[in-house]
Amino acid sequence: MADMLTIGGVELESRLFLGTGKFSSNRMIPRVVESSGARVVTVALRRVDLDFPEENIVNFVPGECILMPNTSGARNAAEAVRIARLARASGCGNWVKIEVISDNRYLLPDNYETIKATEELAADGFVVLPYMSPDLMVAKKLEEVGAAAVMPLGAPIGSNRGLKTKELVRILIEEISLPIIVDAGIGRPSEAAEAMEMGAAAVLVNTAIATAADPVAMARAFGLAVAAGREAFLAGPGAVQDLARASSPLTGFLRDD
């Protein structure tokens, strides 16, 4: 019996969610998605530059993936809701990553507006995954208003700094019954594995893969690490000891005294 993650009624085998920003070329996306094993992929909605229209990223995302548009650019709940509705209406499904940010230096989310947007969109039938600053009371409210998961940051977006909010994320995992998905800041597969060992339900990675010298290989590395961390969480790690514990028997030594 496989260990699946169920969100919005969908069963997911891979617990790695993939962001599609910052890749040198969209042509790379299909190979990155494939090597990562991810089935949930985020995209952003933007005005078309009429002078230089780009290709639509959606055409590069394998069909079996769930598209999760984010509300990046939104500075408050109303803007987030508008973006979410346009995205859904365009036919790419009803998942949305809420991202409400007015801090331009650290791109830290506005938890209050995020709760408001989550409530409105959940009531409107969206599968809502809010990006948030780790805060237990906020996570509880997000749960109340119908979030499908809670996505605390590990460190500032795109910083590759790692799981710097471990202490608070640990508490969310323990106290919140929704899936906790670590989003933002994870820079190395080992950090993704650690989040999973702690009991995170999944991790969302973008910059660490997009800024690697070989994004396709790094995507594979993250896929393996997330699976490793999940497997370890389920396998029940042994206790940590202050002293040494011999791994070879302490009797029957071949000695002449």
């Binding site: 962001g19 599609t20 920003g21 910052k22 890749f23 969209n26 996306i29 985020t42 995209v43 952003a44 909605l45 933007r46 005005r47 078309v48 009429l50 229209p53 780009e54 290709e55 639509n56 990223i57 959606v58 055409n59 598209l67 548009p69 984010n70 990046s72 509705r85 346009l86 995205a87 209406a89 365009s90 790419c92 977006i157 795109g158 933002a184 969302l204 973008n206 910059t207």
Partner: protein
């Protein structure tokens, strides 16, 4: 005729439909999402909607994002 496209004023010939505008702008209809006066418009209706002076049009598309 003046329209507000993606937040900017721009002059287009009168009597254009949304489909016509896209053609005039050389935009591939496959890849865009259109909001017309704050209403999302499905592509089926693009040929039928005739744009009027001062209409607000948002021409959007999905791009890479995290």
């Amino acid at each position: 005729m003046k329209l507000i496209i993606n937040g900017k004023e721009s002059e287009v010939s009168g009597g254009l439909t949304i489909a016509g505008l896209l053609e005039e702008k050389g935009l591939n209809p496959e890849i865009v999402i259109i909001e017309h006066n704050l209403e999302l418009v499905k592509s089926e209706s693009w040929p039928d909607i005739v744009l009027k002076e001062n209409d607000r049009l948002e021409i959007l598309s999905f791009v890479g994002g995290g």
